[in-house]
Symmetry: C2
Subunit: 366 residues, 2 copies
Amino acid sequence: MDTSRRDFNLSSLAVLGAMAAPGALAAAPTTNRRWVLASRPKGKPGLDNFKFEETALPQAGDGEVLLQTLYLSLDPYMRGRMNAGDSYAERVELGDVMVGGTVARVVESRNPTFAKGDLVTAYSGWQEYSTSNGAGLTKLDPRIKPTSYALGVLGMPGLTAYTGLLDIGQPKAGETVVLAASTGAVGSVVGQIAKLKGCRVVGIAGAAEKCRYAVEELGYDACVSHYDDDMAQQLAAQCPDGIDVYFENVGGSSWEAVMPLLNNFARVPVCGLIAHYNQTELPPGPDRMSALQGLILTKSIKMQGFIVSNHTDRIPDFVRDMSGWLAEGKVKYREHMVSGLESAPEAFLGLFRGANFGKLVVKVSS
Amino acid sequence: MDTSRRDFNLSSLAVLGAMAAPGALAAAPTTNRRWVLASRPKGKPGLDNFKFEETALPQAGDGEVLLQTLYLSLDPYMRGRMNAGDSYAERVELGDVMVGGTVARVVESRNPTFAKGDLVTAYSGWQEYSTSNGAGLTKLDPRIKPTSYALGVLGMPGLTAYTGLLDIGQPKAGETVVLAASTGAVGSVVGQIAKLKGCRVVGIAGAAEKCRYAVEELGYDACVSHYDDDMAQQLAAQCPDGIDVYFENVGGSSWEAVMPLLNNFARVPVCGLIAHYNQTELPPGPDRMSALQGLILTKSIKMQGFIVSNHTDRIPDFVRDMSGWLAEGKVKYREHMVSGLESAPEAFLGLFRGANFGKLVVKVSS
């Protein structure tokens, strides 16, 4: 993990603050670099689905700001935006900049709400510079340090874990909570909150190193590896009282191992299905859809999909709780930082083979 | 519909009240007649899965009552109890009396809580007489008239509709609610409550007569027939704003027609899957389980199984509301009454081909 982001400091802002209009700056950038969607993947995406472009620096119009991207978040949901069909939200059109959450710095402001030097969270995508009329920008909460945490434990993935687990999963002390992708941006937070709520927590991860980290650092009661052929048996052994909450982030073999262990009244917040995203067609039969319906019926199971953008009413509770837990060392958090916008596609593709260890973030500028 | 149950009156109770010990009665019954589970069905059940028996009249021991069954409820869930595997609840063992809810009369009491002549709801099954220590017996609420309604609109099916729709489905005025088996014991109540809540209600039923009844008598906005090949297209045409709540009682082709129409944040209370109960193996592929998971995820859908016995805390609200609606004519209710315990298996088998029109009840004694 590259922790150089911590070197980011306010002195650079002071310099920027002294700048006048862009035209007055000898060193002012004149170009933007960005990744656009070149083609829609069939199944597994590849580097050829992305195209790197150099364009003219965008100009902030009246009421707009010019933003410089500092950090770009890379997340599994982006795979869905590359498809022509429905996903959680709008697809990316061919030739358009890939979407993504960012931490950015206001380098020019023609909007009275923002001042040069302000740090904001934005949804400005895979590029170095962008303009905004201010919609969707949020000034960075001063409690968020390091600032890249605004893209992770104190940002969208953290809020996803918090609302999905607490509001949909509703874990009670003594219950068993299982989660897959359990050292990832969302999973690691889910597991640690579940421990704080007094649950038995069993993770599913890939590499042995991740399983060790889940138990030794994150404090899970156990972690099994989906690399092992007998993962389902290992999971059953680690869940002697069955499973009360399964935080679904993966699907596939993790879900299949969980299904027979679900207790009556189990809750399954469905947050993501990364194991399915590169599916090009439905798998061969038999058709287990009715088996899933039957399981939901006979065990009074609640299965509920959600997307974090519909839970923003919980941000104040979340920031209060999570800032406190981080400050007290009750929640640990790990970032997988890669350097330079050029690296974005390769790093993104790694998400689908579990190459990242912690929240994947691209450091775009310093 | 045989409405002769309304002839039941209290004068017969007065006669019974005059009885002393059973031995003192010239006309006292000496035998019990009952249906036991003879064999477990593979797929569709048949008459040969049931055996009719005549046995000695059971004797009420100390602290017990002797019950005479007046009405027996026949419900789809009983199919699950005939299996060796898991269902909602305990299976029926081979040779045991088939389970079922009843309205019964106390004909002898050695339990201080119950007096001879009391009417109770019980779970005494497919037989004419039974004994009970009082556990699970409820004296009939005097607001319940006719008494057979205690097995339907004012009993378990009514409470199922009430809690499943209101507590899990949470319909809001202006939303579209769809339900299958929509003139049945549960469905007819779901649809009418949804109308009372200001929803657009679209039913799915079989026979044209049922569809007409759903619209003309129950007040649904539309009803489509699953006998029609283009049912899915008809349903889509009747749900121009999509579906917000689907009360799942059926599964199969009804569910398949509903799936593509579900809106973001749709709620699917899963109450029953009658179309699946006689399945002997999973259908051939492709495997649509991941498609269902994906739908739940991308549309933030809540799918939740439930069983009425876990919602008994709502009985007071339910009896108050439903008695009021019935009294005001805001909820209509139809029974399909068959006469004589001998008819039970044949009537039960009819449930799976939609032969009943309204709540199926067997009049066992008068």
